[in-house]
Amino acid sequence: MVTATTKGLSRAHEIYADRGRRMRELRKAGKKIIGYICLYPPIEIITAMGMVPFRIFGDMSEPITAADQVSTTVVCPFLRSIIDLGIKGKFDFLDGAVGAHTCDIGMTTIIAWRDYIKDAPFTHLIDVPHTDHAPAVDYFEGQINFFKKHIEELAGEKLAEDKLKKACELHNKQRKLVRDLYDLRKSDTPKLTSMENLEVMVSLFSLPVEEGNELLEEVIKDVKERSIKPSRKKARLMVWGPVFDNTSLYELIESAGADVVVDDTCVGTRAFWADVKAPYDLHALAQRYLVDIKCPRTYRDTQHQEIERDYDKDLDSRFNYIKKAVTDWHVNGVVLQSVKYCDTHGYEVPNLRHYLDTLGIPSIYIEHDYSERSLAPIKTRVEAFVETLG
């Protein structure tokens, strides 16, 4: 393993600023780098094949200019940003790109990649069903198997069972370490800021799993040793919503006088809360990804065996994991954020707000177009929200 010159939070800060740097080094050393979009491609398989999974994000500070040639402005600006960066050659260190039918635009992004982005000649689309019904899990297992065969062709070797088991254990270890890190924000004064936390999360998606685990251990040690200054902030907030891979929103909220202590986004808890369970086979992967990851792209129809639908029970079965986080992290307000045109999250908002109302937790809904400048008009609203909690 290459010894990094910086450690812990300062290393995370460096990686956050240049996500491709470590990937370029690894590629030079002969490693295959496989990019993936959203949370649904099973990265354990990529790791087990001796390749490096790299989560593809957009860039909120880069105006979308090249993507207009291949997609219209009525679709998710996050995914448009990915296409834009790809066309501009920002992912030239990738050997492959894997997408999944997380949502319709998520699927078309990998198709557009194949058609318009020259880098990463290997592409694969994983079909993902949209419910957690048992037959859907079986179907998804078949899709994972299909992906496995394709990547075996690229590697020129078969996926070994013991290697998959080891990869699952390494990724599970990472998930456990992330949960330990989040625990450090349960205290009255969180031991690290949400900006620092996000930089660590983004780094984990930009490093091989072993290096990510090493980074987490360093960060946890650093943060535990910190002496805490008493906080005068009056609100402890949760941020909910689709991908947010930039510290700007967290800066905006924290400068309004609140601490963000926990999140429900796919650059945070959603990515790390669920483990792959033994026996670490493809079925276990299907279960982990389709059922255990809590993203609104999968409808958790837990009432499907009952004849009568009970709205409140249904809400509780969909959102009780949020209730748990609100309790454990002593949250007194939730910021629901969404990127424009995200129908997946948009449909969830009224139900979730209603659920939070029944818990007595105030919430605010804000929408942005995945650019740093679109956050400015949100500032006053976030400040006013924090004032109502004071």
């Binding site: 105030p362 008009p377 006053t380 609203r381 400040e383 006013a384 004032e387 109502t388």
Partner: protein, 291 residues
């Protein structure tokens, strides 16, 4: 001087996108004076000016002001303010101080519109429309310019109409074109104007409905002075609205009352001595540099 020297005062300054407002209250929270002026391009100069003016109006000196809160779009440009609070919280406070029973407040400003839900005098929920001029005072200004009418005149003329024309477009620019084409069709002016007011209020009421409109409803902001607008608001909402005597200053009034509450809170906590204002020096220094 009208008041005893020992008495202290509190000020709220609301620098809006179009208008700047300042209010002074006494230690009972009773209003002692207010001013309203155009904001213009220079927020800082304007902040100094409204502060000076409101002191003159209230017959007091800055030394007698214990605490100042700034609010509004330009709240960061009030260098002598002790604290900044958003206009949403300030409006809620100001409206509730005039109408303690208020449950819904609709405020239409020069370039934004907001809907506040208030319970027991506290802001509980809100929505704003701050990305688009539709449904704001700017929409009415564009209509007035297009027709060559004064804003008040436009309101008065609209009252003659019983059959408002439909303005379908929600976009300010498209609506302007629509007004012109209705004119060329020969539609009566009062009906067109009434249609303009209905179009603006429909946009804002749509926002309000997302939060459920509960009476009593208070209508504030510069446009609440316009008779045509008030009539349209009551038609679209389907219920009467309450309007403060001076609907422009509720934000500044709320800021002043919050300044009073905050100062008392700090004194109780032992963090603040409510004597001669230390900030006066900073204020004078800034004013002199500015001149």
């Amino acid at each position: 001087m009208e008041y005893e020297a020992s008495k202290l005062f509190f000020a709220g300054i609301d620098i809006g996108s179009t208008m700047s407002k300042a209010v002074v209250v006494d230690d009972q929270g009773t209003m002692r004076g207010y001013v309203v002026g155009q904001t213009g391009a220079e927020h800082r100069r304007r902040a100094n000016r409204v502060m000076e003016d409101v002191l003159i109006k209230s017959s007091i000196t800055l030394d007698e002001v214990a605490y100042i809160i700034s609010t509004g779009y330009g709240r960061v440009n009030v260098p002598f303010a002790d604290r900044q609070v958003t206009e949403l919280t300030c409006h809620a406070k100001g409206v509730a101080s005039i109408f303690p029973e208020v449950r819904t407040a609709i405020d239409i400003g020069g370039q934004d519109a907001k809907v506040l839900k208030i319970k027991n005098g506290r802001l509980t929920d809100f929505l704003t429309n701050d990305k688009c001029a539709a449904g704001t005072g700017r929409f009415l200004e564009v209509a007035a310019e297009t027709l060559g009418l004064g804003l008040n005149e436009m309101g008065q003329i609209s009252l003659q109409s019983d059959t408002p024309v439909k303005i379908n477009s929600l976009c300010t620019i498209f609506a302007q074109q629509e007004i012109i084409s209705r004119l060329s069709e020969g539609q009566p002016l009062p009906d067109i104007l009434a249609g303009v007011y209905i179009a603006v209020t429909t946009r804002v009421v749509k926002l309000a409905r997302q939060l459920k409109v509960e009476p009593p409803v208070v209508f504030t902001g510069g446009v609440a002075k316009n008779a045509g607008m008030v009539k349209a608001m009551e038609i679209v909402l389907g219920m009467p609205v309450l309007i403060p005597e001076e609907p422009l200053i509720t934000g500044a009034l709320g800021a002043a009352i919050l300044a009073r509450d905050e100062a008392f809170k700090l004194v109780q906590a032992g963090h603040y001595k409510m004597e001669k204002k230390q900030l006066s020096e900073a204020y004078i220094e800034f004013t002199e540099k500015d001149r």
